[in-house]
Amino acid sequence: MRKLVLAVTLVVWSGLIAGCQGQKRSTYTNSAGSLALSTDDSLLYAADADNDFIAVIDTGTEAKIAEVKVGRDPERVSVGADDAIWVTNRGSRSVSMIRRGDWREAARIAVGVEPVGLAVSPDDRTVYVVSSTSLESSDYGTLTAIDVETLSPAWTMAVGPEPRAISLIGNDRAVISFFKEGDLALVDLAKREVLRAGTDLYRRANASKLSGTARYGSRGSVFSSFFPRSGNDVVASPDGERLYSAVVWSREERIMVTPNAVTGYYGDGGPCNVGAIATPGVVTTALDRFRAVVDDLTTCSVGTDAADRDYPPSAITTPSVRRPIQGPAAMAIDPTGAWLYVVNRQSNNVAVIPTRTRQVAGLDFESSGSSVRSLVPVGSGPNGIALTRDGRKAYVYNAFDHSVSTLTSQGRGNNAVIVSNDREPIRVASDPIGEGRNAEFYAGRKLFFDATDSRVNNVSVGVACATCHPAGADDGHTWGFPDGPRQTPALAGRQILNTAPYHWDGEFATLQDFVDHTVRLRMGGTGLSPALTRQLAAYIDGLAPADNPHVLDVPTDAQRRGKEIFQMGQCDSCHSGPWLTNNGFADVGTRLTGGANPDNPEKLTRGFNVPSLLSLARTAPYLHDGSAATLKDRLMRDRGSNRHGALAEVSDSQINDLVEYLKTL
């Protein structure tokens, strides 16, 4: 009898184990960015930011059947279980809702500033929207829950600065990516609180460098730490165990003084001894511990046990140096969780990466050093992807071409290749002319974004202007240039063409001089003719400033007082005129004379080039070396010296007022 009891117990135990294994937790979505499929895969919705509409495409006939006007700069689109289409209007602080078959905007709901991230809850009752900043302050972004039934915001909560994408974990949790910080936050949607801010990503990715145990030699010769920037997207695996987020690993260590004559010094070494100083990456995060699972970026070169790891290499490495990968903008994962599709906006391709192994049919990371199973060329400026539910087709939206590429597979195993209809994509629109945009603007935009154009950069380096100036903004990074640390300045909305000379040290009198230097010596390109430089200038000049919550129809009292202090403190003696710079030079006591990478005194005999203060609010960190995290940090530091404005006698509350004013510029 006891034997029978034992047997029954064993059977029950094994059944329990089997039952527990089957739980699924994530909210799977088959699309990302500017593209989404209807629930039956028969319709494709593409958000065209230039034309402010959603293109509706019949996937059977591959023809556009409708276009629906929405708000300005529609960025992301998502489809609910009831087939409602949701769109974030980045330029209109709103979300649009469209009902399938009724091809007009059914509702527009106000949210935060520059809404970008979007997700529909699995129960279809709530739409979650991530906005880059709140309506009150640029210091933090927001997460807004929209009640689908009432079509109105149910609640809004603050999250960290510059959030970008969202991925839902069931109905009660969400993960948010942050653009400048490159890390993730875990949010409890029921309690409306941030459970975990950060995955310990930076420390884990640079563990050996930070601990001083990194070694030169076969385990990596680049002796630098790397900061994750440009956290554009995050996606959860279907089993809810892991998250994959896109970053650009940005080098922190000093870039070598002697530039490589072929690649330029932006090719001076990236993470894992591959790529450029700014290299695209995929970060894996274990959701149960909310901890980054990453390679050590100093020691993860080929030849180590890296090939045995069950997550994608943390740096995306191309299978061919002639085909760069840059600017990960959107990511989708197949329903089985085996493949990650990374849409690369600056290299015009899609990288298909296995998620759980580094060795599959057609890919051997150990021997090739590449993490990419297939690298599929698509059109220009891709920023969205949607996978069909049968796992046989992928659509990619090419924002600069206003077209859709269709990706399919041919062959099996080692012979399987993915092909695109790149020669005959589905066209949905053309470049709109007007409002300061013309053919030169659009041509310049392609130059600005294209890491595959050998005129702009050496393709083995694979960096574009947009790599550090994403969409003309800044990446928040301070680079260790040979002349000293230099924080990436924002370009958008700063009237750059009126603010020569260029660079922090003002060494370039004209934009052509600047382009010649940067393109040839830094990026390794063959160079841009004056005509091409004009195109580039047309794009930069046409960039709208980042939306700013501090700009109000009627200034607040603090802003008015701050303006008076700006004048009283003689800030406008240098930051003067319509562009808030006198285009001169000033020594405000910030030059670094020591440390690992001091400023080159020979380049700074006149001080630093006075930067424009336009669009200041969302361009943190501040100063040439990025040493001031906030405007107040800058103003409070060393203010008694009166070297950076006559602020010695200004009270703390007046400093606060001044900050409020500076944020309105």
Binding site: K3, A18, T336, A338, Y341, R356, Q359, G391
Partner: protein, 250 residues
């Protein structure tokens, strides 16, 4: 052909070895009629008790009797415990392991159809759930490739065994099965190659030759070899197996 030659060789070796104990007295009356149910009423010899505890051959344990076995080999090691619920029907549990990379807990039933003086035939079926250390998407040429097993497995088949009349004679057996594997971990092996169905069924053909060679009235050595023919394209086409172990009465 190779396998059948090997079986014949093993058969001759064992039959001529001490395991057959040819000098021991035979059953008291070899010509005694079969008992109801097809089993022979083993009569205790005057010198040594017969060993009737079998877990891998076709001979049933008998009502109320229990047996335990363990084996070590390639690609699997495992333990098996059986209990005779009827004179001709045993049930039991078994744990197979590909050295920790794959562990399968399975139940088995054996129905002794026929037992003659030398030959015994039985229908058998195993079934259970396998736990893999790696997911199907992660694993390359691992436990699934080697064993053909998937998340759930059912292995019906037939065993034929032969023994001489001696109390401690070896039980030579041939075990032919049809392994039906149920894969509940579908994944895309090729990007954009299509989503496989939620449940994928594949079949394999395991063939085993072996011997339970008693060295006492309760305990036997186990030697087995054979191969699996795998029907799933992702798996190895043919995988040899070999194991040694012991079987004992509880």
């Amino acid at each position: 052909m190779v396998a059948s030659r090997a079986l014949a060789t093993l058969w001759l070796l064992v039959a001529s070895s001490g395991f057959a104990a040819p000098d021991l007295p035979a059953l008291s009356d070899p010509s005694a009629p079969l008992a109801p149910g097809g089993s022979v009423q083993q009569q205790a010899p005057t010198g040594r008790d017969p060993n009737t505890t079998s877990l891998f051959a076709a001979t049933a344990l008998g009502r109320g009797n229990a047996g335990f076995g363990m084996y070590l080999g390639f690609p699997l090691l495992g333990v098996r415990a059986g209990y005779g619920i009827l004179d001709t029907v045993d049930v039991g549990l078994e744990l197979d392991s590909f050295y920790g990379v794959m562990n399968e807990l399975r139940a088995f039933v054996r129905w002794q159809l026929y037992r003659g003086r030398h030959w015994t035939w039985a229908l058998v079926a195993d079934g259970g759930k396998a736990f893999f250390a790696q997911t199907a998407a992660t694993e390359g040429k691992g436990a699934r490739w080697l064993t053909g097993r998937r998340n759930w497995n059912v292995v019906p088949g037939m065993i034929a065994s032969y023994s001489s009349a001696a109390p401690l004679s070896a039980r030579l057996f041939v075990d032919l099965r049809c392994h039906v594997a149920f894969d509940t971990e579908p994944f895309q092996s090729d990007p954009l190659g299509g989503i496989p169905p939620a449940l994928q069924v594949s079949t394999n053909l395991p063939v085993r030759f072996g011997v339970e060679a008693p060295f006492s009235s309760r305990t036997s050595f186990l030697f087995a070899f054979g191969f699996d023919l795998h029907g799933r394209v992702e798996d190895s086409k043919l995988m040899p197996m070999v194991s040694i172990g012991v079987v004992t009465a509880l």
